[in-house]
């Protein structure tokens, strides 16, 4: 700890922290840790820090990282509707909460009444003293900060190249607030903050864009170059295929907003149901979806998980249809188990993550059969046998792609026989 840091010495200290090679190797999600650490080394008692990043992502409007000491609790965000995803990255002395926020978040009161929104408008760094005498408090978040013992709060905008906008906030518990000329020091440090974070922002963007199309885990691996073209793993999996019944009729009957709303609702329901039980959406084929429940070490009964997921889907769709009876969703799904190879296939410049194997085509054929019979869910024997739910034999069929006759099943007592 330094006895009395001067603005110049603090600036040099921050600069050397930001330019240190070690920063290059740190995870993008822990950007605030070294910054807060170096400020606290200088005795600043930083007790909170945030980063707000705006992007041009198809679904995300903003990424927010909030650092808090591990000893303190994070502010509750239960009532925030615009959170797409939230996870935490915990280190020894602090935790970073990461929020992915969807389009429209910047129109929410929570954001509009925040210091970030104010600085976005002014374009200038600003700091505020925090105490009980604020009347009215400049922002709704301030009284809570005062309760926690914070004494001063600042926001610093960091101009970034298109399409990004970036701001950083810091708050302190030091009795006298921030040291003299702190804001000026931070403004002077802005070009170094920008350079130190620019490549991380680009990497975050790549990961988030890929995550939207490949799923988060796969995306992280692809972004860091750990997955090579041709990396395929062999595994047993339950494969599912589901599509909308009467899609063509829907396209004629509904206007495009209604159609998109319906499809969005359908896909969201599938996504939630499938991921809840350990499955993964692989791809959209036409208006249909291909998904898998891979048999990894911790996945015990994938057939059970798959069927549970589809029962959940049925409940969700049923609920949605009750809510919007004018635009009912009707679907047909199939589950089949088999051996597949899953991974990175394609041509060197055009790659994909997917499953390959006879079981894929078989599942699609099975689904067609189910759809022909007006069934919401059809199962092959390999899925019907090991599950708890009672099943009923539909019949024995000769389908293209299957060597032998296929025994197909439905769930007993399902709503299929309406």
């Amino acid at each position: 700890m330094i006895a009395k840091p001067t603005p110049e010495s603090l600036f040099e200290h921050l600069k050397s922290c930001l330019l240190d090679h070690a920063r290059l190797h740190e995870d993008v999600d822990t950007y605030l840790h070294p910054l807060v650490h170096s400020l606290n080394e200088w005795g600043l008692s930083i007790a909170g820090a945030s980063v707000v990043l705006r992007t041009k992502h198809p679904q995300l409007e903003m990424l927010v990282q909030r650092w808090h000491p591990t000893t303190s609790k994070e502010v509750s965000v239960d009532d925030v509707r615009t959170i797409v995803q939230h996870y935490a990255n915990q280190k020894a002395d602090g935790t970073t909460e990461v929020y992915l926020l969807k389009h429209g978040h910047s129109n929410q009161a929570l954001y509009l009444k925040s210091p970030f929104a104010a600085v976005e408008v002014s374009g200038k760094a600003e700091s505020w003293i925090l105490n009980e005498h604020m009347n009215p408090p400049a922002f709704p978040i301030f009284p809570d900060l005062v309760t926690r013992g914070h004494t001063e709060y600042c926001v610093v905008p960091v101009p970034m190249p298109a399409p990004y906008s970036f701001m950083i906030s810091l708050s302190t518990k030091a009795p006298g607030g921030f040291p003299d000329d702190f804001l000026e020091t931070m403004i002077k440090t802005v070009p170094y903050i920008r350079l130190s974070v620019a490549h991380k922002v680009e990497r975050i963007m790549m990961t988030e864009l890929l995550a939207a199309y490949l799923g988060r885990n796969t995306a992280k691996q692809v972004a860091s170059g750990r997955i090579r073209h041709g990396d395929l793993q062999s595994l047993q999996a339950v494969i599912g295929f589901v599509d909308l019944r009467g899609f063509t009729a829907l396209t004629e009957r509904l206007n495009s907003d209604q159609l998109l709303a319906l499809m969005g609702s359908f896909y969201s329901s599938i996504d939630r149901s499938v991921t809840k039980y350990g499955g993964e959406i692989l791809k959209f084929i036409g208006d249909g979806l291909l998904f898998v429940f891979p048999a990894h070490e911790d996945a015990t009964n994938i057939c059970q998980s798959a069927v549970d997921a589809l029962q959940e889907l049925q409940m969700r769709i049923h609920k949605a249809n009750k809510k919007y009876p004018e635009t009912p969703i009707r679907y047909a799904a199939a589950l089949h188990e088999g051996h597949v190879r899953y991974g990175n296939i394609g041509a060197p410049k055009r790659l994909d993550f997917t499953v390959i194997g006879a079981a894929v085509n078989q599942t699609v054929r099975l689904q067609e059969l189910g759809s022909d019979h007006d069934l919401t869910l059809i199962l092959s024997r390999s899925v019907a046998d090991p599950i708890e739910q009672p099943t009923e034999l539909l019949g024995s069929f000769q389908l293209t792609g299957f060597k032998d006759h296929l025994m197909a099943y439905t769930l007993k007592g399902s709503m299929d026989h309406d």
Binding site: L19, H21, L24, H25, P58, Q59, V84, K102, P163, P191, Y192, R194, L195, A198, H199, K200, E202, R203, M205, M206, L209, L210, A212, Y213, R216, V222, G225, I227, H229, G230, L232, T251, M263, G264, Y267, S268, I270, D271, R272, K283, I285, G286, D287, L290, R341, I345, G346, A347, P348, K349, R350, L351, D352, T354, V355, I356, G357, A358, N361, G401
Partner: protein
């Protein structure tokens, strides 16, 4: 009499200010190198070369190098052991810049490791060569070239960049006294800023390359341009094609994993190579079947269909050897029509897709091929758009399609 170099401290200050400017991020690399060298030239360094190299283990991103040289000098041959897949030259204000991309592979590795950059990376020390001290010890080919250009002093160093990348930068001067004292200290001081700028530029290049690899070039461009919100669907008219590898399904049981990979790789590579020259794009891999599209110009429908047909011919005639000396063949279906194309999905998962009757029809026609014992099937609209004669395959009932559809193929 050699010109004195500007005071190094002042020079460092100016250059640092320039490097810290937000305009450096997102600047075209060639333009940036041109301006960077401009500083050195104005300060009297008399450079004959300034070169940067960014290398990655990332499979989809190639090795990227840039070389600045004086306007009047010739470009230096890139060591031809590496597989050069792209070369461009750019005329800047201070000089000319040659850019090159080199594919991954053993030869590229060797090329890199046997260069001054490779040595700097291995030793983690700058590489320094002075013509006077060792004029005949030109253990790197580039020193020969530099001697011809009148170089007296050469300096190369690694620049720390975020993993999984590596980078280096080098300079050569023609000044009689070589680089001024303290040049290596100056470069060491500038190195962190250079590294962060390189880091951003290469992450941005990677983002472009990787997204294009997984989404296809056109969709990736739209996504990066911010034009692709969830639920944005456009109606377009496209040529639609399906292709599969005939016989693969039946033989896959007798192939081990490595062989399966090889066969599929070969197939997918062939598809990419056949359709890309005709502006085709792979949209989806559905198991071993691939869905692809071509742009359709309503005013020149025949041309659009001809282009797709040429691509299909290339696919049908391609040599796809199997493991046991057999030849695999492909089966192709082509159609054109209105499709809904866009970005659909849930909140967390998106996908590009084309939907609509036209896609369905093409898929169903493709499924007819084994039954008809044909390898190429064309829809009626597609066939009638072609200026060449076609042969009818009769009318067929297709699932999900209201009326019977007549299908066509080319004359035998």
């Amino acid at each position: 009499m050699t010109r004195p170099v500007q005071n190094l401290d002042q020079f460092e200050q100016h250059l640092t200010e320039w490097l810290l400017d937000v305009k450096r991020l997102g600047e075209l690399p060639a333009q940036q190198l041109d301006r960077f060298v401009g500083f050195f030239e104005r300060a009297g360094f008399e450079l004959v070369l300034c070169s940067s190299l960014i290398r990655t283990l990332h499979p989809q991103v190639e090795l990227f190098g840039q070389r600045w040289r004086r306007h009047d000098s010739e470009s230096i041959d890139i060591d031809s052991t590496g597989r050069v897949i792209g070369e461009e030259s750019f005329t800047g204000l201070s000089g000319a810049i040659d850019l090159y991309f080199i594919a991954h592979g053993h030869s590229s590795e060797a090329m890199y490791l046997n260069s001054p950059f490779g040595e700097a990376y291995k030793t983690q020390q700058p590489v320094r060569w002075r013509a006077e001290a060792n004029p005949n010890q030109t253990h790197y080919a580039i020193f020969d070239d530099l001697l011809e250009k009148g170089a007296t002093d050469y300096f190369a160093m690694t620049v720390a960049v975020p993993p999984p990348f590596e980078a280096g930068i080098s300079f050569a001067t023609a000044r009689v006294d070589g680089f001024p004292d303290g040049f290596d200290i100056l470069m060491k001081k500038l190195s962190p800023l250079l590294g962060l700028i390189f880091g951003f530029n290469i992450e941005r290049l990677s983002l472009d390359a990787i997204l294009a690899a997984y989404l296809g070039k056109a969709p990736a461009k739209r996504v990066l341009g911010g034009q692709m919100r969830r639920g944005q669907i456009n109606q377009v008219t496209s040529v639609i094609g399906f292709v599969n590898l005939h016989g693969y399904k039946e033989q896959v049981g007798s192939m081990n994993d490595a062989t399966q990979n090889e066969i599929l790789d070969q197939f997918f590579r062939q598809i990419y190579d056949s359709i890309t020259p005709h502006r085709g794009e792979i949209l989806k891999f559905i198991g071993e079947t691939v869905l692809f599209i071509f742009p359709f110009d309503a005013d020149h429908g025949a041309v659009s269909c001809q282009a797709a047909l040429s691509a299909a011919r290339s696919l049908l005639n391609a040599s796809l050897p199997g493991a046991n000396g057999q030849q695999f063949t492909t089966q192709v279906a082509l159609h054109y029509g209105d499709v809904l194309s866009g970005n659909i999905g849930s909140e967390l998962r998106l996908d590009f897709t084309v939907m609509g009757q036209a896609v369905n029809l093409t898929a169903r026609l493709h499924q007819l091929l084994p039954k008809l014992n044909e390898r190429l099937i064309l829809s009626a609209p597609f066939a009638s758009a072609l200026p060449i004669p076609t042969r009818s395959l009769g009318s067929h009932r297709l699932k999900g399609v209201q009326d019977d559809q007549e299908a066509f193929s080319l004359d035998r």
